[in-house]
Symmetry: C2
Subunit: 230 residues, 2 copies
């Protein structure tokens, strides 16, 4: 059937992030302004998830920083410091690493549901990578929620509900099924699950993800074709 | 002692590459023109080395593509294809991966010594990642050398000499001692060994390495300071 008019729709950028990832902190700090500038009609779809269960499933598990060689870990901290300076983003080498992001991710799901997720995301990353606070601590989480003007007791109860726990678990499953393996990841024009579109991995691919949302520079084939025979 | 005039010296960019790395292919294809444009007085110091021995020494060894999760390998090929298209660099998904780059690296040391290393480097990467030829095969190497107008028999003999084998082994040791752990790596203003300067890892950091060569945006402190307490 021939269609008379092309479909117009806003672009969607799904941003997958883990509070344990300092590169996700850089990307999350940049994406709002950059997306508004480069893809004005772009909707940002925030997707907290956890890398831990993904790394655990690998036959040859190498976690992020924890199991890197000393040379690579050394390099990564330097790389992060260079990037923060380049972007003008505040950055403190965390004394505790990685942050315990499990409850923070659950809390973020609650806040997203209630419409103030983005403010919480920035506050949590700032706590972890600027203020070097322990976001695994309920008291720290309660303080952050209260500072944002919400009822901390109510929020922490919701955060610990079995419904929210199950939702985060499902979100991690969705990420794995969608082929994600690291954070931050960006999915351009995915489906309602935040996957199924063009995948970009890493803070250093954010500009490419936004460029793709404006004008994909490869034919919009399915990923499968690109890896035929791989 | 006060010095009357600041020292002026050309900048040096050491480019560490392994023929097994498709991202090194992208970087090696780009660095010449980009360096001439952005850092006109920049000298490129070509450093073939091998990642294999570096990965083998890791307690938790995860090689490059070979041992990645299927999702990550899938993503990487797509990422390479996107980059090649973006840069306008020819690219063929290789049927044999990774290329057997040991003898190619040795041959490169010989050619660098004789003053035509750069031409060989481009020819070898083209053979591996555009023409999908087996650069581990002596006949293929001989053909490439002959096409460049040199005596293949002579070169292959030199390539297999114990002196050249020892030099490549030493070069890998130098890389490890200098904190390198992946390819491509760029070292800005290192010492005579190609290490000891500011390290950047990955094709996606080439622009930053050149920017650093022009104007380092962090104080020129020693790396150690950046990772205090890390």
């Amino acid at each position: 059937m021939l269609s008379a008019t092309p479909q117009v729709r806003p672009r969607r950028l799904s941003v997958w992030f883990d509070y344990a990832s300092p590169y996700a902190y850089l990307a999350v700090s940049r994406v709002g302004a950059l997306a508004r500038e480069r893809v004005p009609d772009c909707e940002i779809d925030w997707r907290p998830f956890l890398l831990g269960p993904i790394f655990q499933r690998r036959s040859n598990s190498a976690g992020p920083f924890m199991e890197m060689s000393p040379a690579e870990r050394h390099y990564r901290w330097r790389d992060l410091k260079r990037h923060a300076a380049l972007y003008g983003i505040p950055w403190t080498l965390p004394k505790r690493y990685p942050p315990a992001g499990l409850n923070a991710a659950r809390l973020t799901l609650v806040a997203l549901e209630r419409g103030w997720g983005e403010a919480l995301i920035h506050a949590l990353y700032r706590a972890a990578f600027v203020e070097d606070r322990d976001i695994g601590d309920d008291l720290v989480l309660a303080g952050i929620v209260a500072d944002l003007g919400h009822d901390a007791a109510d929020l922490l109860t919701a955060m610990k509900s079995s419904a929210i726990k199950a939702r985060l678990t499902r979100q991690v499953e969705t990420a794995i099924e969608g082929g994600l393996f690291g954070a931050p990841s960006f999915v351009v024009d995915g489906d309602g699950t935040g996957t199924g579109g063009e995948v970009f991995w890493g803070n250093d691919r954010l500009e490419q993800a936004l460029a793709w949302a404006s004008a994909p520079w490869l034919e919009q084939e399915k990923h499968q074709e690109a890896v035929q025979g791989a």
